[in-house]
Symmetry: C2
Subunit: 368 residues, 2 copies
DNA sequence: GGCCGTTTAGCAAACGTTTGCCAAAAATCG
DNA sequence: CGATTTTTGGCAAACGTTTGCTAAACGGCC
């Protein structure tokens, strides 16, 4: 007779492996082996066990297995906090791509939001150090820290997506931002543009630096002075990119020497910028060419359709997962590799030749 | 002497509760009580334990705890599959809202994609029956099923978000779609509109029915015939809503009796529709009024700004989480309640009086 | 029938917690 | 100061798997 000294799981619903074993007339260990290690067990018994399992609707308890083998089958994605500055348009695609790849590898996806508060950082570290997750994909340039613990110190395999974190030893999947902007800017120069406006994202953002540098390099290569480009935005105070575009529009309107081409760090800000300046009376692309970043589907349907430098996020997500899987299988293998995926400029109508400059272009302002 | 017969966790990184206990000079059980049950332990010992834990960087193993107590602290969100038909714009907001609420309750968020394939359904059921998740929030109208097992049969607390699933005993958080469309349509009627186009989402979608009925009811109330509204779209073949809008635009152009007002099931399709018809030469809102659904931030920056019926998704997510928490705490309490949250029409420029009808309106077609 | 090679049964020890129960200590009271 | 009540600490058994080991069962072969 069994003495029930403690009473933990009063509501433990499902069938156990022991039930399957009983029904199939085999030992528990055989069931375990049949379900996990193929080949370790006779095909006939295996079929019997499978049938029994199906009949009972048996599902192995993931926590028990995880505890025993010391591994989980969950990967977390750490999203930048409060949030999604420019990339809100593209987040669902990222998630979908990553989730699909993980599924194929038998993993599940957990979301962690890196808000700027202590609680969220603690939660992330609890997941990392508490054995809940097996690996992480991070979409932010700073790693969470909380009282002594730091993600960096964890043994957790991590790969960085969109941001280049190879300098802190994280394998990173990025696009060739700088190159892409350089090319796009060069094209704009070839189209006659001589004055540029750059819409920046959050201060110090990795992409910002890269992209801005790309533009600057292209100007230098064309023999244009550095003053040919004006940088706008760069505040962290905005909830999302749209607001940056709105602010930039008024800034644009007040510039004494108005640029004829705009390069935006994200589609969000380009869309709102474009909307505002058009309502102020400028024509796109007649007065102003615009090109932005991310390749959000909605760009195709703005007025005019927005040229954007597409980040192939699905492909990138897949690659990030692959890298993570490698890291999981062989933790020490390979130092931080930077994988660069080519982004490509999708040319749409927002992109055209520079307007002819009237002699008094300084005072030119369209009538509404 | 300890015999090491099996060798499971070769790489077990972190400190254990036993280490904390040793460092603090107390028993393991005391540590456990100190960390979990406040008040069950002397304040002084507690401080000692906290210090020791922090010094070691100790994080409790979630799987061990979960196994012992028979509960996890993970909730999954089941997203409609291949996917995000119309709501892609709004998914990040939903996720963020839900994640924030869950965090406050000490839960983590796991993503499950309900693609239409067997693998994804199996994964979801593994999560549900394998004890990995403690509850689920579902954004789809059909529940996953896989060989014998069905989500419906699981003891898992589930709440439905956006879709009314109260008829299958799931607490549901929805907006008053029908009412909102009825009101919006009535307003359009009052503005002189007499012919409507309705852009539908995937066939049989709950929202579609509701919203379409709302429009029909408004027409009936105004004494207009049912033929006053034309229904377009409704195919499942499109990857996302944008394509529905494009297809609807050509359909619109070919209608002999052109509608003067358009009601779209999602912002996505409204945006692409609007873009297309404007490029064909129609003026919005002069020739055509448009109103859509979801309240995506981007609507504010379309040209013209798009009127949209906002679904307060953050609030809805929060409510869904609250309902789920109730269900978790008291599984049998309360049958399937339907919580209706008011959506509100955000009136923007895409919404205006009906154009004056020339006598030969049948042949009217703007010149480009 | 004896021998050998596969399979499977059975056992038991983990994995790292939580928790009921009892003993010990501390606090309170007469 | 001893007795009684309250609080706190420690022991050990679970939670549901996996896995190494040994021994037994089974089948085929000479």
């Amino acid at each position: 007779m069994k003495i029930n000294k403690d009473m933990p799981a009063e509501e433990h619903s499902g069938p156990l492996m022991a039930d399957v074993a009983r029904l199939a007339g085999v030992a528990i260990s055989t069931v375990s082996r049949a379900l996990a290690n193929p080949g370790r067990v006779n095909e006939k018994t295996r079929a019997k066990i499978d049938a029994a399992a199906k009949q009972l609707g048996y599902t192995p308890n993931a926590m028990a297995r995880g505890l025993r083998v010391g591994k989980s089958n969950v990967v977390m994605i750490i999203l930048p906090g409060s949030l999604y500055y420019g990339v809100s348009q593209v987040i669902p695609l990222v998630l979908q791509g990553i989730n699909r790849s993980l599924s194929q590898n038998g993993y599940h996806l957990m979301i962690a939001n890196l808000d700027r508060d202590e609680v969220s950082e603690r939660h992330i570290l609890d997941l990392a150090f508490g054995g809940t997750v097996r690996g992480a994909i991070i979409l932010s340039s700073d790693l969470p820290v909380d009282g002594g613990r730091s993600l960096k110190d964890s043994a957790l395999p991590i790969v960085s997506l969109l941001f280049d974190m190879s300098h802190v030893a994280l394998p990173s999947v990025v696009t060739n931002d700088r190159q892409a902007v350089r090319d796009a800017t060069a094209e704009l120069v070839a189209l006659g543009h001589r004055r540029f406006l750059y819409l920046a994202g959050p201060q110090g953002n990795y992409h910002d630096n890269e992209r801005y540098l790309g533009a600057v390099e292209a100007l230098a290569a064309a023999g244009l002075p550095e003053t040919a480009i004006v940088r706008s935005g760069g505040s962290l105070d905005y909830q999302h990119g749209f607001q940056i575009g709105v602010a930039a529009a008024t800034e644009f309107a007040n510039l004494p020497l108005r640029p004829t081409a705009v390069i935006a760090t994200s589609d969000d800000m380009a869309i709102s910028f474009m909307s505002c300046v058009q309502r102020m009376g400028w024509k796109i692309p007649a007065d102003l060419s615009i090109v932005s970043f991310d390749g959000a589907p909605v760009c195709e349907y703005s007025l005019p359709p927005l040229s954007t430098i597409e980040q192939p996020v699905e492909e990138m997500g897949q690659m990030a997962v692959n890298l993570l899987m490698e890291r999981i299988d062989a933790p020490e293998k390979g130092a931080a590799i930077r994988h660069v995926i080519a982004s490509k400029l999708i040319r749409r109508e927002s992109f055209g030749p520079a307007p002819l400059e009237p002699d008094d272009f300084r005072s030119v302002r369209p009538k509404i």
